[in-house]
Each structure stands twice: as C-alpha cells, then as structure tokens.
C-alpha cells in the first residue's frame, strides 16, 4: 500500500466513487436499525458490533503494542539504536545471535534496537499525516458539499489538480524541491516535510468522500426538518451533517494510517523521505539494500515489522468498515 490515494477504492461504494454523478442515491450511511430496546447511535452500534469481532481485537492488540513501542522504546530493548555494539566495527554484519537478536548492521549497530526505535518515526509521521489529511479534506469536503454552487466547483477543481499528480512522483518532486539533498536539516524538519507532502497529495480523496456523503445527507428529511425549525447553518453542519457523514471518512482514516506507514517507508527507501540519523523502518530497508546478499536478515526484520504494522491498520480498517456499513452485514 505505498499509494494512499488508491485506498479509497476499497472503502467507497461505486455510487460514491469520485467522478461519477455526485448527487446519486445516498450510500447507505443512514442509521442502522436496532436489535435491542435501548437505542444506540451509529457509533454505539458499530462499537457493539466491533466488540464481537476477533479481527478487531487482534489488530487493536498489535496497534496497542506498536504505540507502546513507539512511546517507550527503552522498555523493549536496552541496546542503543545509533551506537555500535562494543563501540567499534568489530561486530559489523553479524548474523542473529543471543546478544543481538536480529543481528548487526554494517556499522555494528544492533538491528533489534534499531527496529524498536524505528517504530516511533514511522508512527508519528503516519498518524500526524492522517490527522492532517482528514481535517483538511473533511473540512473542505463539508464546505464544498454544503455550499454548492461556484464554491463547490472551485474547490472540486482544486482537488482535481492535486489528485491529477501521480502520488509517488508528486511526493518525490515536493520533497526534493523543499529539501534538496545535502542540505543539512534536522530530524523534525524532514518529518514535517514528509507529512506535508503526504497531506498535500492525499487530501482530495478525503474531500471527495466527505463531499459525496454531505451531498446525500443534505437532502435527508432530518436536515430539512432542522432547517424548517430555524436551525442555523453551523448547527446543521456540526449537529447533523458531520455526525452522520463521519463513517466513510473514519474508515478511510484507519486504512490511511497503514497506507502512510508504507508510503513513508517507500519515500525513505527512495532517498527523499526520512534520512539518517533518523531511525525508521524505511531508512533501515534503504540502507540494507546494498548488502542483501551478505546480510538478508538486515532487510528481513525491518520489513517484517513494517508489514505487520501496515497489516494491523488495514485489518482494523476492515473491521471498522464492516461494523459501520450496514449493507455488508
């Protein structure tokens, strides 16, 4: 999933797919019928559903573990991610052993410690980029869908412009122009730029999802009723539209975190994303490619962590989608 913009195709039903007649039938996001006496909202219903799914608990468990690793890496390893074991190159490229579980890299650094510390950069980038994408995309989407008219036309064309640039290509151009090679820059600046690039190229997807649900919900009876009762625009948006249109964006956000972890690694691998001395899975995989014949474990362990992390978020997204989309029951 190195291209987050393609993630939308799983989450949206054909009627919601961008580019089609936007005002087509509502995509089944209405309130699901209750099976029990106590009324539950859409989210309450989804939570009731989720609690009974093993897929949800497995993926949530993995995600909790990764968050714990990212927050407190020192709980999991006593090694240092940046210093060589023994202080020199004496233990360069050793296979997995009792003292270095995943082996050591070319500079004699403990791969296990690096993999553990690498979780932090990957997860910070993925989560902040997702928050940024959803906030930006959803607000523009609500605005475009609710206002309609020339504002909608203008914002939709603007989204089309960013959507028209192929993802990996656009990210490379953005990162390479804003952060040329050899320009000494600090860790936080590079991470900020990677987040910026991801948000810039993906927000149109969130915008389109939100816009089409708002367009469908705007015609609903409860909105018409609220307006008839004299509710203001802001009340309609915040009390009625947003809660009812959140589901598809929420599902997209979950899958997007996984996609962004993969995308960050891809960009680091291409040499335009995070760079040493930042420790991340993508940087490690990128470093290891020259030595794949002598030290395949150097490639395998960070890749395995990367794949499991992406997989957890994709599985969580799957579980959330099944819980939120009544049509799939």
């Amino acid at each position: 999933m190195s291209d987050p913009t393609s993630g939308s195709l799983v989450t949206t039903s054909p009627a919601e797919q961008p580019g089609l007649v936007a005002d087509s039938a509502p995509a089944g996001i209405g309130a699901p019928q209750d099976k029990r006496d106590k009324p539950r909202g859409l989210l309450g219903d989804a939570w009731y559903d989720l609690r009974h799914k093993p897929l949800f608990w497995i993926s949530a468990g993995f995600i909790a573990l990764f968050v714990l690793i990212a927050a407190f890496p020192f709980l999991f390893t006593t090694g240092s991610p940046t210093e060589s074991i023994g202080g020199g190159l004496s233990r360069s490229l050793e296979g997995p052993s009792g003292s270095a579980w995943f082996g050591t890299d070319i500079q004699g650094r403990d791969i296990f410690a690096r993999v553990i510390y690498g979780a932090r950069a990957s997860i910070i980038v993925a989560v902040s980029a997702t928050l940024g994408t959803i906030l930006l995309g959803a607000s523009v989407g609500v605005l475009a869908g609710f206002r309609g008219g020339w504002i909608d036309a203008l914002l939709s064309r603007l989204a089309d412009v960013f959507f028209g640039i192929p993802f990996v290509l656009g990210a490379i151009v953005i990162l390479f122009s804003l952060n040329p090679r050899g320009a000494g820059s600090n860790e936080w600046k590079i991470m900020g730029l990677v987040i910026l690039a991801l948000v810039m190229l993906t927000w149109p997807v969130a915008m389109r999802i939100m816009r089409s649900s708002v367009l469908a919900a705007k015609q609903a009876d409860y909105v018409v009723a609220a307006r008839a009762l004299g509710a203001s625009n802001s009340r309609i948006i915040f009390k009625h539209l947003i809660p009812n249109c959140l589901a598809p964006v929420l599902v997209y956000a979950t899958i997007l975190v996984g996609a962004y972890i993969g995308a960050e690694a891809t960009l680091s691998f291409l040499g335009v994303g995070l760079q040493s001395p930042v420790v991340s899975w993508g940087v490690m995989i990128s470093d290891s490619q020259q030595y794949i014949r002598v030290a395949p474990y150097w490639l395998l362990f960070p890749s395995a962590f990367l794949v499991v992390a992406v997989l957890s978020f994709v599985m969580l997204g799957e579980a959330v989608r099944e819980a939120l989309d009544p049509k799939l029951r």
């Binding site: 580019g19 064309r157 089309d160 960013f162 990996v168 799957e318």
Partner: protein
C-alpha cells in the same frame, strides 16, 4: 452524453494547467543555482549560462517562464536537457517499456484477481474464501519495494530462475515478475471488489429468476451474474491502468527497467528541471484522460447510469 463529455473535457483544462503549474513552480522556483554541478568540476562558462538563461527565460519571473514553456509545449516542443538531448526523444524511448510493464501488470492482476474473486464470491465462507481473504490482506500490507526486493532476491539471486534485472528493451517474459510485483496490491483490490460484487448480485432478483427458469448454472453465472458484477471491476482496472501508465518509479528502479519512472527519478535527482516538467506533463495528461475514459466507460457498460 455529448454535452457531458464536452463539459468534462472543459473541466480537464484548468486541472491540467493547475497540475502542471504546480509542478513547474516546485521544480523551477526553488532557491539555488540551476547551473550548480551542470558542467562537471568547474563553473559553467558564461556563454553557456547566458545561452541557457535566454533559452529558458530564467531572468523572467516564473509565471512568465511557465507561459513561455507551455507555449513551446503546445507546438510539440518539449525542449532539451541541459546536455542538449531532446526531451521528447527520452520520452519516446522510455515510454514503450513503461507501457509494456503496465500491460503485463494489468493482465496479471486481472487474471488472478478475477479468478480468485469469482471463485470466492460464488462459494462464500469456505476454506478457499478465507484463504483468499487472508492473502489479499497480506498483499495489501506489503509495500511494493519490499515485495520487489524479496522476489528479486529469492527468485533472481538465490534460485536463479529469473534475471535479477531486466535487459534494455524489456522483452515480455522478463517483465512477468516485475509486473506481478507492480500489480500485487491492485490484485488484492480486484479480488475483493469482484467477491463483494458477485456476492451482492447473486442475491438479486434476476439471478433468482434465471435459476427458476431452469437455466444451467454455467449460463446463470457466465451470462447473468458475471456481466452485471464486473462493471465496477472493469472501471477499477481502467483507473488502475491510468496510474500504472504514470510510471512505476519503485518497481522500475528495483528491476532496472528503462522506463519513464526511472527516467523521471534520474531527472529529479540530477536536477534536470526541464526533463522533469516535460515528463510530468505527459504523465498528468495520460492520467487525466484515462480517468475521463473510465467515467465514460462506466456509463457505456451500465445503461442504468445516466449523465445529465
């Protein structure tokens, strides 16, 4: 329909100019000497600097440069690299390889994805169904560069079944593994989309009617069910072909395929700004036109969809 096509084409124009303007600004307007390192170890001779400045209007503000550039482009002149090579020649040389790779990837993902999707959609909740669901999740989670590396290492370096790298003119049989890598993620989408679509439609009235009429299973599935279920899948494949033709920077890089993705990456790294913009313009155009085509295809395949 005609009015819809016209409106969509008109909408394409601002999007095309917006996207190319954005890229142009990113590539050319960055601070820094555009001639740094262009002439080897020594500084560029004044005459060369003067010539290039004039040629690319580097003294003018960048919006004006963009206008000049697009003016040339619309007459078919892509400009030249700093070394004096025609950019259109680079594109003409690299693009066929990218197209071949995209085609191979599309065929592989369509064949495997559709087969898996149809089989599991017809028999839900069996062993095969769960196996396919789990493997599609895995396919979705493995980034292209990881699967590319692993397959190259295992099949190419260890088992020596394939060449680890693809030769210059990229013959089809060497593109099978790279195509598989490139199409692997979309393959998972195709399988899931087909499965959902078949599962949804197999409960529909027209399928029940067909079964009640006593039609053989083969005809019910092959004619009634498949035709209706494949509409979303075909549009997905169309969109995907659009993005595949945008060049596979990662896959082409790993397997050293001389395609457009590798060319553009090289151009970005060596700061060949004119080449980057030229290639991006072509890719954006292809991408936008493919998306338009897919939308029209959707209406052609499914008469229930009407564009106003």
């Amino acid at each position: 329909m005609g009015r819809y096509v016209l409106r969509r084409l008109l909408q394409l124009i601002p999007v095309f100019f917006g996207a190319t303007l954005l890229i142009y600004w990113l590539v050319w307007a960055v601070p820094g000497d555009p001639f740094a390192g262009k002439c080897g170890e020594r500084a560029c001779p004044d005459s060369y600097v003067q010539f290039m400045t004039e040629k690319y209007h580097l003294d003018d503000p960048w919006p004006l440069q963009y206008v000049y550039y697009m003016g040339h482009l619309l007459t078919g002149d892509f400009g030249q690299t700093f070394g004096g090579r025609d950019i259109s020649e680079i594109i003409a040389q690299a693009y066929p390889n990218t197209l071949k790779l995209a085609l191979v990837a599309l065929i592989i993902e369509a064949v495997i994805g559709l087969t898996a999707g149809v089989l599991t959609g017809l028999r839900r909740n069996g062993f095969l169904d769960n196996l396919v669901l789990v493997s599609t999740l895995f396919l979705l989670a493995i980034p292209t560069f990881v699967s590319g590396f692993l397959l190259q290492f295992i099949l190419g370096t260890q088992l020596k079944i394939i060449n680890p790298t693809v030769s210059g003119d990229a013959p089809f049989h060497e593109l099978i593994v790279p195509g598989f890598v490139l199409g692997s993620i979309s393959m998972a989408y195709v399988a899931r989309l087909t499965r959902t679509s078949i599962a949804e439609n197999s409960r529909s009235d027209y399928v029940r009617t067909a079964v009640a009429k006593g039609l053989p299973q083969r005809r019910v599935v092959g004619v009634h069910l498949l035709r209706n279920s494949l509409i979303p899948v075909i549009t997905f494949l169309g969109t995907d072909l659009g993005s595949l033709m945008g060049g596979a920077i990662v896959t082409e890089g790993i397997f050293s395929i001389n395609g457009i993705g590798r060319e553009v990456y090289r151009a970005i790294v060596t700061k060949e700004s004119a080449t980057v913009v030229g290639i991006v313009v072509v890719l954006v155009m292809v991408y936008l036109l493919m998306n338009l085509l897919v939308d029209l295809l959707y209406a052609a395949l499914d008469p229930r969809i009407r564009y106003e």
